[in-house]
Symmetry: C2
Subunit: 607 residues, 2 copies
């Protein structure tokens, strides 16, 4: 344009005026094509322009600043997906060479590693501590261990619904797929690029899953300025300011609350910096791992009441300190604590691995120790064919003696401790895997007795609402009854998707989701975006019948769908009170909740 | 009464008249209490009498014969549970001694075995080929292997919802529980009876689960005359005639069809003798076992298309002969063939057992054979954490190359063969585990292409309806769409119960159902009687929306609930066309379907 101004000032002036006209008409960034033939300016074509995530926020903010669009229109023109892309570190493009290859940006983020051309090599090198990128023509379910081991996945074939893309997204792993310029030679353990370079096994490459670009060598990473803003509150001019203003606007118009799923004080604090208005899901099972596994094992293997009580008594103060830290980090905001959910055998060793170890030792003439023999006996006795459908959640809470009481006592004591320290602890107790109102009634009785005992002894009393996950079809179908005993509902849409569809994410995503997307059976994975006709119908039934039975019932969602843009629109339309998602997804949820409030219920109804 | 007639003929005449009055009034068998004091007859109390199953049929038939009640009333006065009790062999009470003990008849049938007092001994003796009865104060989930190993379970504590009772009923195993006269001494491996006898470990006892009685020694068994009638059609006077007349009446009034679940020609023939009007579920997975496992293994492990095709080609004629036999046994009646349902790894060895065997051999210096190594690799690769929620049913049919086509081709060729032999084959093809209409559309295309190819080549054409199981919540919730591609629905209420409640029968029934019944969370196991509020609501939704989309949609049920009395009433009220159950349950279903037609929809609505 500067050249044109110098060469042909008349055409330049004319073009500038046309551009203003177009921008005012479309109220958006425009791509134009024009030509100047013998002094005459011809406008050939125009359309609203494609843009990067950075540009989307900057342009929307500028147009709003100039008064060409309203702040609401600016909000409508950016998306949660744009926001996600801005939150990953990216490569410093000024410091990298020419790209080696381009493909489809299938799962965002940036990663560096040594190229490997088969699954076994990926596993081998990763086990030795090396960072690798798995490079394949396309992946199949057999490549799963290699994908798990790799920093990133790069394929030369397939689109956004290819196996590599679907599985990498499910894992949150960087992926570029369909880089068709790459000529693969897996037998020779190398591939060649369009530019004639060869990537040998072990060659270090850099994969940008946000842009689809692959670079040679270890490209230097640049931290995200947007992420820095969330972490520190620093709000320089430019992109960050545009993002911040858009989020402020979203917060101003949204009706949905946004909480985070967080299990530690650190995550809780981060979630708060990202704008979370509380914790919608604090999983207590993560507090039973690490050093504490020995105590949990002792509780499980206990042969006498006194041995079990001893183990529970040892867990109690540890669990209390967990809760104190989280309540402190979220002081003044609601914290929903979920009682222990997984089957107890998950805290014991893997059955096959343990059996193999003991059998191999025996074959060498070394009989198992008494402890190993006891462990094996317990692991075999507690083995479940389908642990997702077994003795877990409230079933465990009702059957494992002392477990619920220990957890609730720890929480009540933490509330007392925070209260005495001048804090404002707002704990909510959530019961997992409820099927019937009777289960909730029984566990609620135990919870309330325990709370009352602690509060009475301490002279401190804080109301701790008791509610339930709605994560099984039967709970949704009988929500009107369950609401009689629940102060809140939280949809566990991961498990609800698994049971409504009858498939377990771990087992099926890598096994056949890509084929299902290719065949058109899915338009999108129901674990990424809520399925409105099946799972969504259960959600709508439960909201309507739960509220009919208890008009002040608070209703949220704490599955991963809580941070998915399309799902946030669905939950807005379904009338939920809040969504809860991973801390990093909180800005996405804030943004999309704002956009949902602008567009009303159309999004979910039109899907 | 004969004595009274002799001693006091006046009172006798008076009493006889009163009895006639009472019987005419109550139109039923009456228990009465009377006394004669100084020549005056005093009637003290009367009520409709308790009766054995034999008496229930005989009395109802007699009263109807005498015209005191109608045939419909006679039908209403017997139950499917009565019919079940008449179908087991029983002990010849004339040939046994005095009972050793009495308890609660918790699971019907008669069994003989050596008493054992702990689980390990039961397993040990059963493994050595001995028949045992597990005798315990009460059972816990830890006793499960012993219960599996035993012929019968006898406990001294607990009622019909005790662990022993619930689990034994689930297994179809004889059980007497709550025999409180027995004083247990498990440490001494014996117990004592009220009569002072001692039952030592190894003492042979006889347990009658239909009456709750325990006898010393091996009591002689008498075959059921009712069972003999079903098997042979022999219809002597008395009990059998009463049962036959009642069933005839039920057949005359019922609206529900009754089919059987049968996988072999023998079962199909038996089902037909028991009155089945077709097969509602023919599972093809049972045809992949035994000798054929090697071929199935070859199909699974095939590394090349030609190896896989070779394995499928070898299975085809075997599968065809399966179908010919079943279609012949059910000639002229519908036979619903379900395409392969279980995950393929079920046809391979157990992962832990195989791993242990190979690891132990390696530890002894014997590396695995190439075949074992290949098997282990496949078993590990195909391992699923939750196989019930994995790659099975239609998912397998869509993904495993050639499998669906082989099964459908075998069926089509069987139909042609039967047709050429002058038969009337009525095959229906049922697709398992449908979640979405798109799955059914795709598999249906393949099915219809295959049928058309066989029928065109043979010049024989028979319409084979294609339908689907409704066994996942999502299928029920989208039944209106699915009906567009389905000529029939069959509710798989076992799987539908498992997914709606989120529990697997194998894992939970022994683990906590008894506790749930005790706590009042269940009134009855949802695997025994359909849960009307959760699973039943899905059934009603699917019936309404399926029929709205396709008014001539045929709808049945082929879960075990199809043979449960209360569930049959529910299915009648829900408007199903037929129930399908195990061959032995067919008379129960006929009877209850008749009773349901008499009582209308009250039964299911009042539960």
């Amino acid at each position: 344009m500067a050249d044109l101004e110098r060469i042909d000032p008349a055409s330049y002036a004319q073009l500038s005026e046309h551009l203003r006209t177009l921008e005012t008409h479309y109220r958006d960034l425009c791509d134009i094509e024009f030509t100047i033939e013998r002094g005459t300016l011809w406008m050939l074509q125009t359309r609203v322009g494609k843009r990067t995530a950075e540009a989307a926020f900057a342009i929307a903010a500028d147009l709003a600043e100039e008064g060409l669009i309203t702040q609401d229109e600016a909000l409508a023109r950016v998306s949660g997906d744009d926001a996600v892309r801005l939150m990953f570190p990216r490569f410093d493009t000024a410091a990298v060479g020419d790209p080696l290859a381009h493909g489809i940006p299938a799962s965002p983020g940036a990663a560096v590693g040594a190229a490997v051309f088969d699954c076994a090599e990926a596993v081998r090198r990763a086990a030795a501590g090396e960072k690798v990128v798995l490079v394949r023509q396309e992946t199949t379910p057999d490549d799963l261990p290699g994908m798990v081991a790799a920093q990133a996945v790069l394929t030369s074939r397939g689109g956004k619904t290819s196996h590599a893309a679907v599985v990498a997204r499910g894992m949150g792993k960087v992926c570029v797929c369909g880089a068709e310029d790459l000529v693969m030679n897996p037998a020779g353990r190398r591939c060649t690029t369009a530019g004639g370079s060869t990537i040998e096994e072990g060659t270090v490459i850099s994969v940008d899953g946000s842009t689809g670009t692959v670079y040679a060598g270890a490209a230097p990473l640049v931290d995200s300025v947007v992420m820095k803003y969330f972490e520190t509150g620093e709000r320089p001019d430019g992109l960050v300011d545009a993002v911040a203003r858009t989020l402020d606007r979203a917060d101003g118009v949204r009706r949905l609350g946004v909480r985070a799923n967080a299990d530690t004080p650190e995550d809780a604090a981060r979630a708060r910096r990202f704008g979370a208005e509380g914790i919608g899901l604090c999983r207590t099972e993560h507090m039973f791992l690490g050093d504490r596994r020995k105590l949990v094992e002792a509780m499980i293997l206990a042969h006498t009441d006194s041995a079990r009580v001893q183990a529970l008594d040892a867990l109690l103060p540890l669990q209390r300190q967990d809760f104190v830290g989280i309540l402190e980090a979220m002081d003044g905001l609601p914290v929903t604590i979920r009682l222990l959910d997984p089957p107890l055998h998950e805290f014991l060793p893997d059955r096959t691995a343990l059996s193999v170890r003991i059998a191999a030792a025996e074959a060498r003439g070394n009989p198992p120790s008494a402890h190993d023999a006891e462990l094996l006996e317990a692991v075999n006795r507690m083995h479940e064919e389908n642990p997702m459908l077994g003795l877990r959640g409230v079933r465990l809470g009702l059957l494992a003696p002392g477990l619920t009481a220990m957890q609730v006592r720890a929480l009540a004591e933490a509330v007392v401790e925070r209260k005495r320290a001048g804090g404002d602890p707002r704990a909510e107790i959530m019961v997992p895997l409820i099927d019937t109102v009777e289960e909730l009634r029984l566990v609620r009785e135990e919870v309330e007795e325990t709370l009352a005992a602690v509060f009475e002894a301490s002279g401190v009393a804080v109301h701790c609402p008791v509610g339930t996950m709605i994560e099984l079809p039967r709970a949704a179908l009988t929500a009107g009854q369950i609401a009689q005993e629940a102060e809140f509902f939280s949809f566990g849409t991961n498990d609800l998707t698994q049971t409504t569809w009858g498939f377990s994410r771990d087992d099926v995503e890598a096994a056949f989701f890509s084929a299902y997307l290719d065949k058109g059976i899915f338009k999108v994975s129901p674990f990424e975006t809520i399925d409105p006709e099946g799972v969504g119908r259960l959600v709508r039934i439960a909201v309507a019948e739960g509220r009919a039975a208890r008009p002040d019932l608070k209703i949220g969602v704490c599955g991963e769908h809580g941070g998915d843009p399309a799902s946030v629109h669905f939950f807005h339309a379904a009338g939920l009170d809040y969504v809860s998602c991973s801390p990093f997804r909180v800005p996405v949820a804030r943004l999309e909740a704002g956009r949902a409030a602008l567009t009303g219920t159309e999004t979910s109804d039109s899907r």
